[in-house]
């Protein structure tokens, strides 16, 4: 490199969260450079379904972020991105297999409703109006009209393209090897495989590798991978209209177990294939395909939609959700390293929560007070003891 680059903010990671940070920061007039070791959506973003969900979140800070994001996604779609990123405000349908599960689901939805979630009870005999191919014999469900979907890789790419329109630059196939500090310890930029980029602010949007980026600044951030598989079917006509999942999914998401959990999550896509999830395991970065997991996903999907039995699975893919011990992301400035802002650890909700994350990070970078209280998400909230316990649990 002939000379060092200079900008206002370096964003590490061109996944969905990094793209959203770049988009809002560039729109706020900041000079942004995004650096990614691979290219757009090379990590968890490219391995997800693109869910924008409020339905699976209990009242709390994550639900607040989700509701803010839901509004921002609608704005983004309406402004310019809608069709290009396959934005579909199709709604989510959560179904209960028995009365007990239905009661729990209704209670959960009641709690959410008080915080602005729209939720409608669907009687058993009305489920087929929403999903004609749904199995019979279900106890009932709840419909969440705010749930939506995007194609995540396209969403990341288009947000970065739009950011580039405001002057941001994407540097792909470039690995950050070092975080540069001033003598007082504040951020001064990054060293990469191709040179140095100087900036007073660095955003850690490295997703599941966010802990490793934090380590470059000698601070701990216990982001760990939680593996998930997705089955992809052959292209189909619209057999599945909404995102449909079983009520036990919510319990799996919130679980702390390292063991395999699977609960059926089935949805159609704008381009034809049906996506089938969701599995959760803590097995490190093991990419090996697990046939038992795929078998369970297939069986559970057929239980919900018997019509899928003769449909072909064309492929399966694996991804690693970046999770933190309390299942909340780390968003905000790191008090230990002035100039370092974290935006990672969104677990399975990174696509949905990305616009809110990007907007809040941009507000921080611009010196404004974020419109959302980030205290519960502060990156230094994990004590050494809690991190040790977590490491041992793995």
């Amino acid at each position: 490199m002939a000379r060092n680059l200079v900008c206002d903010v370096v964003i590490i990671g061109a996944g969905m969260v990094g793209a959203a940070c770049a988009y809002y920061a560039a729109r706020a007039g900041l000079d942004v450079i995004v650096v990614d070791r691979a290219s757009v959506a090379g990590g968890t973003t490219g391995a997800g379904e693109g869910n924008l969900l409020v339905s699976d979140k209990p009242p709390g800070p994550e639900l607040g972020l989700a509701l803010l994001s839901e509004r921002l996604w609608r704005e983004l779609a309406a402004e310019q991105f809608g069709a290009a990123i396959e934005y579909e405000p199709k709604g989510g349908l959560v179904v209960a297999q028995d009365e007990k599960s239905l009661d729990a689901l209704n209670a959960f939805a009641d709690g959410q409703s008080r915080y602005g979630v729209h939720a409608t009870t669907v009687a058993a005999d009305s489920l087929s109006d929403l999903e004609p191919h749904l199995a019979s014999g279900l106890a009932g469900g709840v419909f969440y009209p705010q749930d939506a979907q995007v194609q995540p890789a396209l969403a990341a790419a288009h947000l970065i393209r739009a950011a580039a329109g405001s002057g941001a630059k994407l540097r792909s196939a470039e690995t950050v090897t070092q975080l540069l500090r001033t003598p007082s310890g504040a951020m001064r930029g990054v060293r990469t495989s191709r040179g140095e980029i100087h900036a007073p602010a660095v955003v850690n949007a490295a997703g599941v590798w966010g802990g490793e980026v934090a380590a470059l600044a000698a601070v701990a951030l216990p982001v760990l991978p939680r593996r998930g598989f997705i089955l992809v079917t052959e292209p189909l006509p619209r057999l599945v209209r909404h995102k449909v999942y079983a009520a036990d999914y919510v319990a799996d998401v919130a679980s702390d177990s390292a063991a395999l959990q699977t609960s059926p999550v089935v949805e159609g896509t704008a381009s034809g294939p049906v996506l089938i999830g969701a599995s959760r395991e803590r097995v490190g970065f093991d990419r090996a395909v697990s046939l038992p997991v795929l078998r369970r996903l297939a069986a559970q999907a057929i239980d919900l939609f018997p019509v899928l039995a003769t449909v072909n699975a064309m492929r399966a893919y694996v991804g690693f959700r970046p999770y933190l011990p309390d299942h909340l992301p780390a968003i905000g400035p790191d008090p230990r390293v002035p100039g370092l802002v974290h935006a990672c650890g969104h677990e399975g909700a990174g696509i949905g929560l990305a616009p809110a994350t990007g907007r809040l990070v941009a507000q921080l970078l611009a010196g404004a007070v974020p419109e959302f209280d980030l205290t519960p998400l502060r990156p230094d909230r994990f004590t050494a003891a809690s991190m040790r316990a977590e490491a041992e649990a793995c």
Partner: protein, 115 residues
């Protein structure tokens, strides 16, 4: 031997069957979109269609372009066709049987079974 070596292209056989001295078992009929065509025992669906001069039996999902056999060995999935109501069969792999009902496909091949 009944088949003698032929040394000159000028006297070459005019068909593949003549080349290898084939005496196929009796032909049978199958239907494609209601039209009856003749197939030979041992043929795949694709072979039967080629023999009847039919080179395409599917249109693509987005562009509506005609497609037929491309790779001929089951890798490319271009020759997908509906056989006896089962969509997305590879014509180059599925053996033809007497009375088969072959239906040309459009889109995903499952539109009729969808919404």
């Amino acid at each position: 031997m009944l088949i003698r070596r032929r040394s000159k292209a000028a006297s070459a056989p005019r068909t593949p069957e003549q080349l290898v001295g084939a005496r196929p078992e009796p032909a049978f009929a199958l239907h494609i979109d209601g039209r009856e065509i003749e197939a030979l025992p041992g043929h795949t669906i694709a072979a039967a269609l080629w023999r009847a001069g039919i080179m395409s039996w599917r249109t693509t999902r987005t562009g509506g372009e005609p497609r037929g056999v491309f790779c001929g060995i089951g890798i490319c999935f271009d020759c997908l066709v509906t056989v006896n109501g089962q969509p997305n069969q590879r014509a180059c792999l599925v053996p033809a049987s007497a009375g088969d009902v072959v239906t040309t496909q459009a889109g995903t091949g499952r539109e009729g079974g969808g919404e």
